[in-house]
C-alpha cells in the first residue's frame, strides 16, 4: 500500500504525544488527591501510543519500541499483588496501605503513599491490556490483507 506523505500529521503527532504523555503521568500521580489515577493514566498513555502507531505505521514503531506490550500485563499484576503481600511483612492484613511525609532531594517536603505502588500496577496492566487488544486486532487485519494479496 502506497502511503501518502502525511508530514503534518507526523509533525503534530510528535509534539502532541509528549503533551499527552505528560498529562497521563500527571493524571497518574495526581490520582490520590485529584481526579485521575492508574486507570485513567494508563488509558491516556495507551492513547498516546496508539496515536504514534497511527501516524508512523507498524514497521517504524516496531523498530522504535522493542518490547512486547503483552509483558506489561503480568508485570502490572505482579506489582499490585506484591504491594498487597508487602503488608504481610509488617504484620498487617493483605493490601494494607500506609503513607508518610519525606524530605526528598529535589521535590522537598513530599507526601508518599504505598497506594501509589498499587496504582502503578493498575497503570501497567491497563497499558498492557489496551495495547495488546488494539495492536493485535489491527495486526490481524494486515495479515488477512496480506494473505488475500498472496492468493490473488
Amino acid at each position: 500500500m502506497q502511503r501518502s506523505n502525511d508530514l503534518i500529521l507526523k509533525t503534530t503527532t510528535t509534539i502532541i504525544v509528549f503533551i499527552i504523555m505528560g498529562f497521563s503521568i500527571y493524571l497518574f500521580f495526581a490520582g490520590h488527591n485529584a481526579p485521575g489515577g492508574g486507570f485513567i493514566g494508563g488509558l491516556m498513555t495507551s492513547g498516546a501510543l496508539v496515536l504514534l502507531y497511527i501516524s508512523y505505521g507498524f514497521k517504524t514503531m516496531e523498530r522504535v519500541i522493542r518490547f512486547d506490550f503483552k509483558n506489561f500485563i503480568p508485570i502490572g499484576l505482579l506489582i499490585a499483588v506484591l504491594t498487597g503481600i508487602g503488608s504481610f511483612f509488617f504484620g498487617q492484613p493483605f493490601l494494607s496501605h500506609t503513607d508518610a511525609y519525606f524530605e526528598l532531594p529535589i521535590l522537598g517536603h513530599t507526601h508518599l503513599a504505598t497506594a501509589i505502588l498499587f496504582d502503578l500496577g493498575v497503570y501497567f496492566t491497563v497499558v498492557g491490556v489496551t495495547m495488546t487488544i488494539i495492536l493485535n486486532i489491527a495486526a490481524d487485519e494486515g495479515e488477512e490483507e496480506l494473505s488475500k494479496q498472496n492468493t490473488q
Binding site: 490520590h32 486507570f39 498487597g84 487488544i133
Partner: protein, 780 residues
Amino acid sequence: MLHAAVLLPFLAAFFIPFIYRGVKQVHLGWFVLAVPILLFGYFLTFIKNVLQGVHTLKTFEWIPSLGVNVTLYIDGLGLFFALLITGIGSLVVLYSIYYLNKAEKLGHFYVYLLLFMGAMLGVVLSDNLFVLYTFWELTSISSFLLIGYWYQREKSTAGALKSMVITVFGGLAMLGGFLLMSDLTGTTSIRGIIENADLIVESPLFSFILILVLLGAFTKSAQFPFHTWLPDAMEAPTPVSAFLHSATMVKAGIYLVARLSLVFAGTDLFFLIVSGFGLLTLCWGSYMAVRKTDLKAILAYSTISQLGMIMAMLGFGTKAAILAAVFHILNHATFKGSLFMVAGIVDHETGTRDIRRLGGLFTFMPITATLAFFGAFSMAGFPLPIFNGFLSKEMFFEASLFKHSSPIVESVAPFFPYLAVGGSIFTFIYSVMLFFRTFTGKQRDTLEKQPHEAPIGMLISPMILVALVVIIAIVPDVFGKSLLAPMVDSITGKAVDPHIKFWHGINNTALYMSLAVLVFGTILYLTRTKWEKVYDILPGKMSAAKVFDAFMNGLETGSKKVTNRYMTGSLRHYLVYILTFSVVLLAVSMSVTGGFNLSTDDLAPIAVPEVMIAVVMAVAAFGTIFMNNRIAAILVLGIVGYGLSLLFVFFRAPDLALTQLIVETVTVALFLLCFYHLPDLNKEKTPSRTKVVNWVISISVGVIVTLIGIASHSTKMFEPISEYFIKNSYKLGGGDNIVNVILVDFRGLDTLLEILVLGLAAIGIFTMIKLRPNKKGGNE
C-alpha cells in the same frame, strides 16, 4: 463373628479373580463352594439359641452420628432366610460347577454370585433400616449383573435393564418410606420402629408410608403390575434363575413384608393391598403360565403366582395364615429350586427348553424325570402326603377361610377362597403340563443333541432338594418346630402356637377344596385345546411387558419432544425464556412483598441541562433500533455513551466522567474496527408476531427495571456508609480523592481482581486472534 459371616462372601468375591487367574486346572466353583457351606454350618448353630428365644444382636458402628450402624440381628425370621440363602446357595454353586463350562467367564459369574449372596444375607440380617436399604440395592445391582451375564445377547441386556429399572424404582420408593418411618419414630432400628409402631399407624402419613414400603416389596417380589421383569430375567444362566429368581431375591419383598408385619398388620389398608394384590398375582401368574411354552417362562410365571400366594397369606395376618406362608416359603424354595435345575438339565442335554419340541424324555433321562415329577406335583399341590406342596396348599386353603372382625375385611373375605381355588386350578394345570409334555409322549422333534442322562454332579443338587420335598412332607413337625415356629413368633410377635401339628383332618373344607382343584384341573388339562382361545380374549394384546415398553418408549420420545420443543438452539428463544422468567419473577415477588413503594420525598431538583442530555440520549438510543446501517448504529450508540459521561460531569463524578469518556472512545473504535469487516446489515424480515413478542418483552423489562430503580431509591433501609469514607479518606488513606482512595485502599482487592479480569480479556483476545486451529487447514 456374625459380621465376619456377612462379610465373608464379599471378601471371597474380592479374592476370586486372583484364584481364577492363578488356578486354571480346577473349576473355580469348587473354591466358591466352601463359602456357602461354611456359612450354612455357622448359621445352623444359631437354631438352638433361637428356639430358646435368645436373639443375637451385634452392632458395628458405621455412621453413629446419623444413627446408621451395621446392626445384625438374628431371630427366627432372619435365621430362616439366612439358612435358605446359604443352603440353596451351596446347592446352586454345586450345580453351576457342572452346568457352566470352563470356557465361560467364570470369574465374573462367581464374583457376582458371591456379591449377591452377601447382599442377601445383609438384607435379612440387618436391624438398621438404612443398612437394609444398602444391601437391598446391592442385591438389585448384583442381580442386574447376573441377568446380563451373557451380555453379548440382546435379550439378556434388555432383561437386565428392565429388572434394574423396576426394582430400583421400588427400592427408591421404599427408601422414602424408610425415611418417613425413621423420622416419625426417631430411630433407625427395625426393632425400635416395631416398638413405636403406634406412632406410625396413627400418623396422618400412614397410608403414604405403607404404599411406599409396599412398592419396594412388590417390585422386588414381582407382584402384579411389577411382575413383568421376572419372565425377562430368565435370560440369566439357569443356576442364577434357580437361586435368585425362585429361592432368594424374589423373597426379599416377602421378607420385608413379614419383617414389618408387626408395624403394619392389623390395619385394613395393609390387609386390602397385600392380600388383594397377592391373590391377583396368584391368579394372573398361574393363568399366564399355562400359555407359555418355554420351560423357564412357565417356571417364572409360576414363581410369580406362588409369591402372590405367600404375599396373600401374609396379608391375611392370622396366625394360621402366617404359619402357612412361612411353610410355603420353605416348600417353594425346595420344589422351585429343583424344577429350575431340572429345566437347566433338560436344556443342557437336549439343547432346547421349548415344550412344543420336547416330549418322551422319560426313557432317556429317568432320574431327571423322577425329580421333575416330585417337583411338579408338589408345586401342583397334588393331594398325596409325600408332597410338601400339598401340605402348605392345604394350609393356604384353610387360611383363606378365616373370619375377621373388621367390616371392610368382612365384606371382601368371602371371595378369597374362590380366588385361591381358581388360582390353584391353573397352578395344577401348568404343573401337570410341565411334567407330561416334557417327559411323556413321543419325541416330537429332532433335537440338536441326542438326549441322555445328565452327569451325576448336576443331579446331586436337585436330588437333595427333592429329598427335602419328601422329607418335609413326611415329617413336617421337625421343620415346623425348629424353623417355622420361631419364625411365626417373630412375624406375629406372639408365642409359638400349637397349630403346627394340625395336618390330617379328613373332614374339613380345605381337603374338599384340594379335591376340587384336582378334579377341575384334570378336566381342564385334558380339554385344554378346546378353551385355549380364551387367551386371545383376556390378555389378548395386552400384557404388562407391553405396558412397560410403551411407558419407557413414551418416556423417551416424550422427553425428546419436550427437549426439542424448547431447546431450539436459537439464542433469541433462550433470551426470551431468560427475560420473561426474570420479569415475571421480579414482578411477582415485588408485588407480593409490597416492594413497589414509590415515594417522591427524596428527590433532588432537576436542572435544565440534565433534561436536555437525557432527551438527546433517549433519542439516540431509539435511533439505534431503527438504523439500517451498522456503522451508523455504532456511532449513534456512541452518543449515548458520551451523554452518560456528560451526566457524570453534572453529577460531580470527574473520575467516572474521564474513564467513561475514554472507554467509550475505545469501544466505539473497536466496534468500528470489527464491524468494518462484517457483511452489510440487511433489514431483517421478521414476522410481525416475533416483532410483537420482542416489543412486549423489551418494554416490560424496561418498565420493571425502572420501577425497581425508583422503588429502591424510595426505600432506604440503612444509612449509607459513604459518610465514613468521606471522613476517613485523608486520615486513613492519605488522599483527598475519595474515589481513588476507595479503589486502591479501602477496596483494593476489588481493583486487583478487576485488573486481573482485564488481563485475562487481553490474553483471551490475543489467543483467539493468533491461535486459530482452522487457520491453516487444521481442524474445523
